[in-house]
Structure formats: C-alpha cells, structure tokens
Amino acid sequence: MSEMWINMGPQHPMTHGLWNLRVKIDGEVIVDVDPELGYLHRGIEKISEDRHYNEVVTLMDRTCYVAGLAWEHLYIIASEKALHIEPPERAEYLRVMCEEFQRLGSHIMWFSAFVVDIGLLTPLLYGMRDRDLVLDLFQSYTGARMTYEYMRVGGVRNDLPPGFTDRARTVLDWLMARFDEYDKLTLGSDIFHKRCDNLGILKANDCIAHGVTGPMLRSAGVKRDLRKDRPYAAYDRVEFDVAGADSADVTGRYLVRMEEMRQSVRILRQVLDWLDRNPGPVMARELPRWLGAPYAPVGREGYLLKRNYPKGVGFSSIEEPHGEAQAYIVNEGGEHPYRVKLKSPVFSNISAARQYLVGYRVADIPPIMGSVDVCIGESDR
C-alpha cells in the first residue's frame, strides 16, 4: 500500500468531538498529520461582545462542555478585574470548590474516553458511573448537570444547600477508593503498558516551544501549575502537590491525571472544611446596578449606581483541567465587554499534533490523542 491521506474525522470514534485529523500513512506508519479545526466554531468571542457581563457566563458553560465551571471561573476572574470588583472570600472558596469538582468530572470523563481508545470497555462505564456522582453534586447546588450558570460577576449565584458538604465528602471517599480500582484495570494490565509506554513522546523542550500545557507538560518533567505558580482565587490558602512524571509519554499523562484527581480530592476536603467553618455572603456588596440586569443575582443586598464607570482590562489565567486557559477582557465602559479573548489549552495542545504523532502507527493515534484530552468545544470556541 503506498502513502495515502485518510481523514480521521469529523465523524470518527477517535476524535471525541468534532474535528478532523488528516493523517498521511505509509502502510500503518504515520508520515504526516494535519489537524483541521473549526467544525464547532460558534464565535463565542464575538457573541460575548453583544452580551451583558453576566450573560456571557452562559456562553462560558458552552465553551467546554466537560469543564463548564472552570471556564466560568476563568471568565469571572478576568471580568471582575476589568470591572474593578472584589468578590467575598466565601465566593472564592466556592469557586475553588467548583473548579476542583470540575477537574474531577473532566478527568474522569477523560479517563472514560481514553480507556475506550485502547479497547477497554469496562472502565468506561465505571468512569461514567462515578462522574454522575459529581454531576449530582453540581445539580444539587447549581441546578444543572452540564451548563451551570453558577458564577456571577462579584461572587456566585447562591450558597450551598444544607447538608451539601457531608454529601460531598461521601462522594470524595467513594471516588478515592475508585481511583485505585481504575489503576488496577489499566496499570495492572501488561497490554496497557505495551500500548502506552514510550508512546506519543513530547519532551519538555518541544512542549514549551509549541505551547503545550497542562498534564502533557507536567508529564514531561516540568511542574508548571498555575494554581501554584500564580495562585488565583483561594489556591494560595490550600495545600496540595503538583502532580508530575518524567516519561513524557501516554502512561506519564495517565499517571499525572490520576494523581491530579487525588490532589483535587485533597484540596476539596480542605475547602469543604473551610466552607463549614466560615459562613458569609457569596456576592459582593457593591455592584453597579446595570450589572444586575437582566438576570439579577440571588442574594444581592445593595446595588450602587456608579456613574462614569471606569474602564479597564482584565486578564486571568487559570489551570483548567486541560491546561493553561486564559481570558483577556477589555472593558470600554459599556454594559458589554468590548473584547473577550479566550485562549484554550486544547487549541495549543492539538497544534503540536505533528510533533507527537509522526512516526507512530495508525493504531497509536487513539491512545495518543486520548492522552491529549481533546475538548473541541473549547479549542474552537
């Protein structure tokens, strides 16, 4: 068989989304790849320019459908900086809780999808079963399982329902036991190591040059985690370790993500304890009146009308489940943001596809791309 291009996508079981990986193969060996994005481009940045600040939160949920709260958090931090608003401390802890639960949900979702890529069916169902527990928790305090619309400029929409922290702790205990089970099903199998060791190698230098971040970078020996390096929200007040590995391959990325889930549980336990001890307001007291419209946040206590609202630029950078996500928001004084620029880690991670795919085999594409953890909603925006 001579060299030929095959289209893996836009509808292909490997893609986990809507994108097209054009692969040039010689027999079963990959000679060249050309990722094509844009199948899910909804123009979120453009639509944001016609929305109130709080309405944009709705769009952020749709940016990444498995990590909606992390993107809300990203956007909210940037827009609060652009609008010069300080959230109360309890809201910051609640946001950290949201983000870490979201990291759990996203990583379990990744685990489920990844094991199918190497042909394991059972852990897929285990993962979906356990992710549902996290979604149940989301539902109990945001009212939604996927598109939450929970955060608001100046805080969060509502406080936790009674008994939430105890339920959350039960879920965390259950999850911690399940992580060991996951490891047995994957790392315990020789075939898993045969498939994933020394596969899709992307060394630290290449990662940095091509802008690859998140678990991929940490598995290459660079312990860059924005929660530690550049703490935001309440991350400077919780203890955790940055997960890392040195192998820079698919197994390394697996190990990093599993360790990150365990660290998330550790963070969440501290945050839940703090939330139990420190009741308080979850919305800032002073907010511009126009910010409340048209959907007034629950729990507002006194809006002040600010005339000649100051302009500003807000920048935030958070450690999203997939890597380094950034938002750059320009406030030109109107009710709508002038420009919302979102940077997705998946976008950069896919752009380096040629570096970690060429030279491997067609059968290696699903595990490698699975280990990248592709979420097309956020790379296309």
């Binding site: 844009g38 940045e45 453009k46 802008g211 971040t213 390096d229 380094e324 950034q326 750059y328 752009s351």
Partner: protein, 157 residues
C-alpha cells in the same frame, strides 16, 4: 523582572521601536513596540527566559488594531504582555512563529478573525472558518444582529 529592568534589558536591542514599558495588572509589564522591531523584540524577550508563548490576540479599536502577545517565564513565574498598534488600513506584522513555534496557530486564528496579516508566516490558512470565508468576524464592523449580513458567502476553492 519589573518594568524598569525590562526596559533596560530591551532598549539596547530595539532602540526607537520600543515605545514603552509600563506596569500592567496581572503582568510583569506591558511592552509596547512598533512593528518594525518585532522580530528583534521577540528574540530579545525570548532570550530573557520567556520561552512559552501563551497566546496571540488581536483587538480592533476601529481607528487602529492592536496585536497582543502574552509570554510566560518559568523562572520568574510571570506573564509579560507585548503589544503593538497597527494601522487599520494596513494591519500586518512580522510573524512570531520563528521564535515561538506555538504562535503558528494563534496567528492563523488572529489573521482570519481580526484580519491582521503575519508576514513570512509558514502556513497562513483558515483555521476556524472555512476556506474562502470572506468575513473577518471579530472586527467591529461585523455586526451579528443584522440578519441580512449573516448570509455566509463562501467562495469555493
């Protein structure tokens, strides 16, 4: 590295194309430069340890356009913002993808959405919009609430 040190480090290499280095919230500094000295600036900033380019963005200020580069230094654990103003009638700048390969896709995106051309870019094709798509959606002149303008004109190539 504060703004003053950054200015001292960059000024010799750039000369007049360095417009200013000023403090900026969330960043080590904001470096404003003219597009003539773009490549020198990228090399100099990269040489200062800012090995990771996080994003390239464009903003349409109607009378002019602004192109932003956000870089990260692992040693200083800080972001630095680089920005250049480009005239609206001729928005182009030298590509940064020779210095930071990660700029490749960000510049493709900025080109197709904000209509800023990157000279000597290795692969300036449409990324998020279909090939032959004529509009530049993130320009202020592109209004999404006027349905008659929503008719997508795709030139088949």
């Amino acid at each position: 590295m504060g703004p003053e040190e950054l200015r001292a480090a960059l000024a010799p290499a750039l000369g007049p194309s360095l417009v200013g280095v000023e403090p900026f919230e969330g960043f080590a500094a904001r470096v404003r430069f003219r597009r003539e000295g773009a490549t020198e600036l990228f090399r100099a900033v990269h040489g200062l340890g800012n090995t990771h380019l996080s994003m390239v963005a464009g903003i349409d200020w109607v009378d002019h356009r602004e192109v932003l580069y956000i870089v990260w230094s692992d040693a200083a654990k800080q972001y630095t913002l680089l920005s250049a103003d480009l005239p609206a009638d001729d928005p182009h700048i030298e590509t940064a993808s020779g210095v930071w390969p990660s700029a490749n896709w960000h510049e493709r995106e900025t080109w197709e959405l904000v209509d800023i051309t990157f000279d000597h870019h290795p692969d300036l094709r449409h990324l998020l919009t279909p090939d032959g798509y004529e509009f530049r959606p993130l320009l202020r002149s592109f209004k999404i609430h006027e349905p008659e303008e929503l008719e997508v004109k795709v030139r088949h190539v």
